[in-house]
Each structure stands twice: as C-alpha cells, then as structure tokens.
C-alpha cells in the first residue's frame, strides 16, 4: 500500500522558508523522497514528459532566469495558490508567473558499480494490480460479490432448462441403483456396465442413485448444478491466483454462461462431476504454486478421480502436469520440472493402484479411446465447435497474446513490475488456450460429433484464465472500455442461453411411460428404442434386464437359426417375443425399419398408443405396440 499524500501549505516548511523543496516537484510521489533527477528510471521518464509539456507551452521560458531549482516563479501579483502543486499546475497559464530554468545538473560522478545484491532467501510473488491499487481485501470482497452474481446467473440459466430424463441420465442413475445393491449385498448387476460406460460405474452412478432415492432426478441434476457452480468458483480462485481479481471475474463470467456449462448444470451425467474434479485439481496446482513442491501431490487425487469419473477427462491430465511446471512460482528450472514430475508420478501411482483395484475396464476403449468412428466431417465439427465455444476461445487467444506482449497493463507504473518471464507467459498462454482445442481435435480424429458440445466445456475450463485475462485487457487499464467487456459477456450469454436450450431438448417421455405403466410387470420382455428411459421411470415395476434396446441383439428362432443385427429384431418380433414394443424412429433407423416391417401383417401386435413429442430437431412420436 502506498502512503502517498499531497502536502499542504501548513506542514510544508519548504514553501514558508526555503524557495522550493525539490521533493514536491512533479515526478515525486508515493512518499519516496528521491532527489530529482531521480535514480529510478520510471520516475525519470514520467517527470521528463511533464517537463517537456511545460516547455512546449512556454518556449520563452527557455531563455528565462536560471535558478538552482528550476520551476515557475511566482511574482507576487496573485496569492490564491494554496500549495506548491496547485501553483505548479496553474502557473504556466498565469501571466504573472515566470519560468526559471535549472542550471544543468552536474555530470554524475562516476560511481563504482554497486555490489551484486545477495540472493534473497525468499522472493515475494508478483503483486497483483487492480486499478490504481494492488489487490486488497476490499477488492477481493467486491470480486466475491460479483462472483456471487455470476453464480446466480449461471444457476438461473441452468435451472430454466427442463425435460424428462435423457437416455444417458436414465442409464447412469438406474445403473447406480444396481451398483449400490452390488456393493451392499453383492447382488449381480444386470449388464456389463463396466464394459461400455464412459466412466467407472461405481463412482458417479452410485452418487447419482443415492441422491435419486432421496430427491429424484431433479435432485441429481441439482448435484450437477452444484458441481458446475463449484467449477466456476474454482476457476475464479485459480485465475485470481494466477492473474488478478478482474481476470478472475472475467473468466468466471464467461465460463458460467457458455452453453456447455449451462447445459451440464442441469444434466445428470459424469460430465459435471468430472469438470468439477478437474477444476479442483487445477486450482490446487495453482494454489500450491508458492508452497514447497511436495504440496502439488494434493492435486493428484482429484485429477485421478476426474479420470475415473469420466475417462475422457484423462485427455486433460497432461495439461495439469504442464500447468504444475509453469505455475511453480518460487522455483525455476529443474525444481519446477521436478514439481511436474512429482505430480505426474503421484497421478501415475494412483492410476496404477486404481488399475489393481478395478481391473481392466473395457469401457475405456469402447467409449473413449477406440470409440466407433463416425461420419462427421472435420469442417462440420470445427464449425460447430466454433459456434459453441468460439467466442470464449478467441477471447482466450486475445488474452494469451496480450499476456505474451506485456505481463501487466501498467496501471501502476510506479510499481516495479515483476511478472513471469516472457517464455513462461507464452507457454502458459499456449498451454491453457491450446487445451481448449484438444476435444475438437480428438473428435475430428474420431470423426464423431457425439457429445462434443459437452466436451468443449472441458477445454474451455482451462482456457478460462486466459479468457479472463483477455476480457480484462479488452476492458483496458482503469476500466477504460467497460462497454467492450460487457458486450462480450452479453454476447456469450445470449449464445450460451440459446444454444443450451437448443441442445437441451429430449423427447418428453412422460406420456409414454404413463401409457406403459399399466402394460408392464415383472415377467414381461420389452423392446424399446432408448430403453433406458422407460426402464428408469418404471424401475419400481420392472427390472432393467427385462428391457431390450435397439443397439444390437442376437436372436435364435424356434428352428435354431441364429440372427444378428436388424434381422434378429425382425425375427424376434415375428415370433412375438416382446410383450411391448416402443419405437421412437430416429435413434436406430435400421432396426426401426426392420421392426416396423415385421409388425406389418403381424397378428400378434396391436398399436396401443402414439405419444407425440417435440424436440429442437423436429417433431416425433413414440409408437407403442402391445400384444393383442
């Protein structure tokens, strides 16, 4: 904190006695009584400009009197100047004042080079600047209040989305109920969940099922909202630690309104939990940047947990490791590297332990590393990624560039600015901003757009600090262009709001399950497209194993002939193997066509109901057939 103050006439001996006290001339400030010409280079340039301005205003002064102080001299006609500063300010425009130039300063005596200062035992971290002052308790409090508003807006945006359970939500929550039974009583789970889930089925699904038993699906979704609010808060904390309060507010504000955040805040899948754990790990990495390097090990459990919760989060573990190297503020060179190695080693050890505990998981390859290749083109994926996260990504790019050019905005030029070196700044920008490209790049490699709109959010969490810095630089020093920052936030908000609403659009299954409820029991076999949804809503009257989905089936008919794929469904329907058939018509078109054809002229089934729904992709209907 600076103790600058402007001296008043009364307590200034120089104005009463001596002609001038040089210490109050322009160029002096903040209580550092340094003789002009100052030894500090910053002060020198500052005063120089001032002096220059005065000279330009009164060229005649250059041939005026020469005094030992060099200033404006008051000739006695006016007496309304209360102090020297006022005097110096208005004298150039006062016809009664005359300028006195200084004698040229004596050439500085050759001084012996100062002895090399001893390496201090502890280097203070760079002081964060915020407006005219360094970040104080007050600005932190203000920042937290703004963060609270940001979180409220985020919660509002998420909670305005409504809908019945999506296929994945239904599956995970339902699976969680069976996993709880498996853990508590050892009852077998009805399906190879570990083989095709995109996260470990004994983690998030168990939590989701526990909440579901108490508060239903809405409760599970609220847990996701808490995770996402937590992620935003951790991003705030992380960015404040790395940069300053303003960047932190910008990061939290942008991240809180992009469509993936809004969407996942009301979506009961692995994603929200994984994002929260990644954010927690990143926050610990940054938070322990000044602590002894061992402290970084604390960040390993949440990182590994994030990976176990959703295998796709593993894509971001390398980012965390590099981040651990780059944020080792106190340590340079080898020790910083050691921090990264330590962190990576800790994660590796935990992953190894997890592997021993859980065994090989087929789900990792099936859902993440070796996912079935799709037919989506790179151009389409890029276009959609840009649409979903482009604005925030570009802000992060801008922030990275600005950061690479200058570590600070120079709002407090009198402060000696000790920021990270240029290499570290560039590396940080490239790392964090580049991480946002991981998910789109990986999915372009897989040619599939499945869940990409959710996955862009993972990368943008890491790009968040740079985006926050970008928005803070856009606003400029001393809040010069607040309108730009507000515009950017509002634009992002509008896009996030509209896009999340477009994506958060699942078929309304209420009517369908209401129709099915009296038709099902504990004995029947049911074929349903997206069978997880009715299986979840009717779990009190049916078991999961009674439901057959349309993603694949083998069937052997009465004559012993084996079928697979759509033919298997057609044969099973012709043999009236299912008691109820529910088709939606868009998820698995091949099987739908096969089943519909098998129902034509089929004496066993009767159409029981058609329940319509509207999603953002168009109108559709569940068609429900029952045995006559």
């Amino acid at each position: 904190m600076t103790d600058r103050h402007t001296p008043v006439w009364a307590d200034d001996p120089g104005l009463r006695g001596a002609p001038h006290d040089p210490s109050y001339g322009p160029g002096e400030g903040q209580g550092r009584r340094v003789q002009w010409p100052g030894a500090q280079s910053q002060d020198q340039s500052w005063s120089y400009e001032q002096q220059q301005y005065v000279h330009q205003a009164h060229p005649a002064a250059q041939q005026g009197e020469v005094t030992d102080t060099g200033s404006w001299r008051f000739d006695g006609h006016t007496s309304s100047y209360t102090d020297q500063l006022t005097y110096d300010t208005f004298a150039p425009y006062d016809p009664y004042a005359t300028y006195t130039a200084t004698e040229p300063a004596p050439a500085p005596a050759p001084v012996s080079p100062e002895p090399e200062p001893e390496r201090p035992g502890y280097v203070l971290p760079p002081v964060q600047e915020s407006s005219w002052a360094v970040d104080t308790g007050r600005s932190r409090l203000l920042g937290r209040l703004v963060l609270l508003c940001v979180l409220l807006i985020q919660a509002g945006l998420s909670l305005r989305l409504r809908g019945t359970a999506f296929e994945d939500e239904a599956l995970y929550v339902l699976a969680g109920h069976y996993e709880i039974g498996n853990i508590l009583h050892g009852t077998p789970v009805p399906g190879d969940f570990e083989g095709y889930f995109s996260g470990y089925p004994k983690l998030y699904p168990v939590l989701a099922a526990m909440v579901d038993s108490v508060a239903g699906l809405a409760g599970v979704r609220v847990v996701s909202l808490v995770f996402m609010l937590g992620a935003t808060s951790l991003l705030y904390g992380m960015t404040r630690r790395m940069f300053d309060v303003r960047a932190a507010i910008g990061a939290a504000a942008l991240f809180s309104v992009i469509q993936s955040t809004v969407f996942l805040g009301n979506f009961a899948t692995f994603d929200a939990a994984a994002i929260f754990l990644l954010a927690l790990s990143a926050w610990i990495v940054v938070r322990t940047g000044r602590a002894p390097i061992v402290a970084v090990v604390l960040a390993a459990p949440p990182a590994v947990l994030a990976f176990a919760t959703k295998y796709a989060a593993g894509l971001y573990l390398p980012t965390l490791v590099v981040l651990a190297v780059l944020t080792a503020y106190r340590h340079r060179g080898v020790r910083a590297l050691a921090r990264g190695v330590l962190f990576g080693g800790a994660m590796g050890a935990l992953l190894g332990a997890g592997y021993l505990f859980a065994g090989s998981l087929g789900g990792i390859s099936q859902t993440t590393t070796d996912r079935a290749k799709g037919a989506d083109t790179a151009a389409q994926l890029l276009q959609h990624s840009a649409q979903w996260g482009g604005l925030m990504f570009l802000t992060a790019v801008g922030g990275s560039l600005a950061y690479a050019i200058r570590p600070h905005m120079g709002e407090m030029p009198w402060l000696e600015q000790v920021g990270p070196g240029r290499f570290r700044r560039i590396a940080l920008g490239v790392l964090l901003t580049g991480t946002a490209l991981l998910a789109p790049a990986y999915q372009i490699h897989l040619h599939t757009e499945v869940s990409l709109f959710k996955h862009v959010g993972f990368g943008l969490l890491f790009a968040g600090p740079m985006a926050g810095l970008g928005i803070s630089r856009l606003v400029g020093p001393h809040f010069r262009h607040p309108q730009l920052g507000i515009m950017l936030y509002v634009l992002t908000l509008v896009f996030g709001m509209v896009q999340s609403q477009q994506n958060y659009s699942f078929p309304d299954s209420r009517e369908m399950t209401a129709v099915l409820r009296p038709m099902v029991d504990r004995k029947g076999t049911y074929l349903a497209e997206e069978h997880e949804v009715p299986a979840y809503y009717l779990r009190d009257v049916t078991g999961y194993a009674q439901w057959q989905g349309t993603f694949g089936m083998d069937y052997t008919d009465k004559k012993g002939k084996r079928y697979s794929g759509p033919e298997a469904y057609a044969a099973a329907v012709k043999d009236a193997k299912f008691d109820v058939i529910v088709l939606r018509g868009t998820v698995t078109p091949d099987v739908d066509t096969a089943v519909t054809n098998a129902l034509r002229g089929n004496p066993h089934y009767r159409l029981a109901a058609v329940t319509r729904f509207t999603t953002s992709k168009g109108d559709g209907a569940y068609r429900i057939w029952v045995k006559r």
């Binding site: 400009e49 856009l474 020093p477 896009f495 509209v498 009517e511 002229g601 004496p603 058609v610």
Partner: protein, 350 residues
C-alpha cells in the same frame, strides 16, 4: 495525468481484438440465430416454429392421459347385447324404450355415419355415459374407394382420427359395410376388392399415424348367401387391420332361418383366412309367426359359439317391422333370451 502517445498504441490491439470478437460473434450468430436455429430454439421450448401465440393464450401442458386400452373389450368373457335404434344415441329415449321392453340394458349402440360427417363425439359420449360402446357404420357414399385409397380424403380422415384420439373413448368402426353386396356405391358393382382393401388399410394407417388407437376395427361383410359367387377373401385387409368380423344377416321371411344356415357358410369361409372373433353386426327377425323362434335361435347360436362376441339388434320399423316389440310374443322371447347372464355387461368397467 495522461499519456496520449501510449494510449493510442494501447488501443490498437484492443480494437483489433474487439473487431475479431465481433466478427466471430456475427459468424456464430449466423447459425445460432438463423431461421433453422430459431426453429430449433422454439421447438425446444415446446412451441411450433413460427407460431406466435397471443399473450392471453397459454401452452398449459395438459396432464398426459393414456389412450383408452381397448384390448379388454376385444374378447370379453360375456357377449355384447347391441342395438341400433331410431335417433340413438343422439337421443337415448329409443334405447331406454328398447331396454325396458327387452329387459336388459344394451351395452353396444350402433349408428350410421355418412362420409364427410365429423366424428360424433357427443353421440359416442352419450352411449358411453349410458354404459354402452358406440359402434359406427361409416358409409362412404360421397367418396369413391379409389379416391380414399389415393389420399384425396386424407384431411378429412385425419381430422376424424384426431377427434377420436381427443375424445379418448373406445369406439367400434366398420368402414364400408356389406362391401360384398352390390347395393351400395362401394359394393361389387362400382368398386373392386383391391380398392376396398386399399381404402380400408389407408384409413387404418392414417388412424395409426394420428395415434387414434381407441378404435375397434370391424370388417363387416354381408352373409354370403345372397351372392355366393363373391368370395370374401379378396376383401380381407389382413389380421393386423381387423379386430372383429362383423357379419350382417337378418332372419327374413324367406331365405335361411337358422343360425347355422344363415351365418354358417360365411363363418366357415372367414375361418379359412382368419381367427378374428365375430360379432353379428346387424340382425333382426322379420315380423311373423316364426319371429320368437328366430330370436331364440339367434341368442342360442351366439351363446354357443365362443368366437362370437355378441350381436346388434336392428330395432327399426323400416321396410318391415324389425323391432322386438312387433308382437308380444317376440318381446317375450327377447326378454327371456336377453336375461341370460352371458349377455350384456358394463363396458365402462373393463
């Protein structure tokens, strides 16, 4: 204390950044706020794209009501006791009169609906309130079977189906009854069997498409006796299109006068291609000395066959007096036969 020189330099990247962000926002906006994007947004909110609701109108989501499950009505353990009476079920006086004279409330009320008429929701509701299932004989007088099959009448059929779905009460519909006879415009003289099945299936498909699953589909040929050369099989739309085979045959003064001779040949022919249950979709006995015996024969024949779900008495004085009260003995016979517990049940309790 400003630094004019420095400000100008600092502004340039800011402007550049702002311009880039604005451009990308516009670009993204082109897709998110395009017409397609707007449609998606409106649909996601459960609105029809482009439909601007007036402020007073609300989209109050109605509580989903499952469609009536007609399956318990298809093969009930007891038999339907049906009636087609003058003015019913718009006015229930004739039905009440029939119930009084017959000694039992009918649980199926048949009436006729011309092509182009809207679905008579009030009449169906009336019948249901009385405790009877409505049975509509849908007569395509004003449209050819060909036109119906080709889709020219789709709008009408769809609106009819929507009304059926909306009312959500079970209803039996027989389209183009007595199609194997020559006397109707949809009969053998003016249309072919292929046209009949195409039209029948087309109507059924449209009902399915609209989700009007409350319909019990009745395929209703006349007994084959008057035109033995017209085979029924070509007129059969298929097992998945029909719930009941509604045989129409009267005990006339001349012609077959026993259950076996009147309905037997038709039923035998039908059994060759389907196992769907029968209903005697229209019947009565001509006034005369034999009438009480005919009534007895009808009830007993129906009771004996497990695959006949009931009968519908044509209680009109049209051409001849078909009513049960044409004579005291007839009425007496009807009362006795209808009193059997196997006839009549409350359709609303199934």
């Amino acid at each position: 204390m400003t630094h004019p020189h420095r400000t100008a330099r600092a502004l340039r990247p800011v402007r550049l950044l702002a311009a880039t962000l604005l451009a990308s926002a516009l670009l993204a906006g082109c897709t998110t706020f395009s017409e397609k994007g707007r449609d998606e947004y409106e649909r996601a909110q459960g609105e029809q794209p482009g439909a601007h609701r007036s402020p007073g109108e609300t989209s109050a989501p109605t509580k989903p009501e499952p469609p009536y499950d007609v399956r318990p009505l298809l093969r009930p353990a007891e038999k339907y006791l049906g009636v087609a009476a003058d003015g019913a079920p718009a006015k229930m006086t004739a039905v009440a009169d029939f119930a009084k004279r017959g000694g039992k409330k009918p649980n199926l009320i048949e009436f006729y609906s011309a092509w182009g008429d809207q679905y008579e929701t009030r009449m169906v509701q009336n019948a249901w309130d009385y405790g009877a299932l409505a049975f509509i004989a849908w007569e395509p007088f004003d449209a050819s079977l060909k036109d119906i099959a080709s889709g020219k009448e789709d709008d009408y059929i769809r609106s009819y189906a929507q009304s059926v779905k909306e009312l959500n009460l079970p209803v039996a519909i027989s389209f183009g009854h007595e199609m194997n006879g020559f006397w109707y415009p949809w009969g053998t003289k003016k249309a072919t069997a292929a046209q009949f099945t195409a039209a029948y299936k087309h109507i059924h498909d449209l009902f399915d498409d609209e989700g009007a699953t409350q319909v019990i589909w009745v395929w209703s040929p006349n007994v084959v006796n008057p035109m033995p050369r017209v085979k029924l099989r070509p007129y059969w739309p298929g097992d998945d299109y029909v719930d009941w085979v509604g045989v129409i045959g009267y005990y006339a003064a001349t012609g077959p006068s026993t259950y076996k001779t009147l309905y037997g040949p038709t039923m035998t022919q039908v059994r060759a291609f389907t196992k769907k249950p029968f209903i005697i979709a229209e019947t009565a006995a001509q006034a005369g000395e034999r009438k009480p015996a005919d009534i007895k024969d009808l009830f007993e024949g129906t009771a004996k066959r497990k695959d006949v779900v009931g009968l519908v008495w044509f209680d009109f004085d049209k051409e001849t007096d078909w009513r049960i009260n044409s004579g005291p003995l007839s009425q007496q016979a009807f009362r006795e036969e209808a009193a059997a517990p196997s006839f009549g049940f409350d359709v609303t309790k199934r």
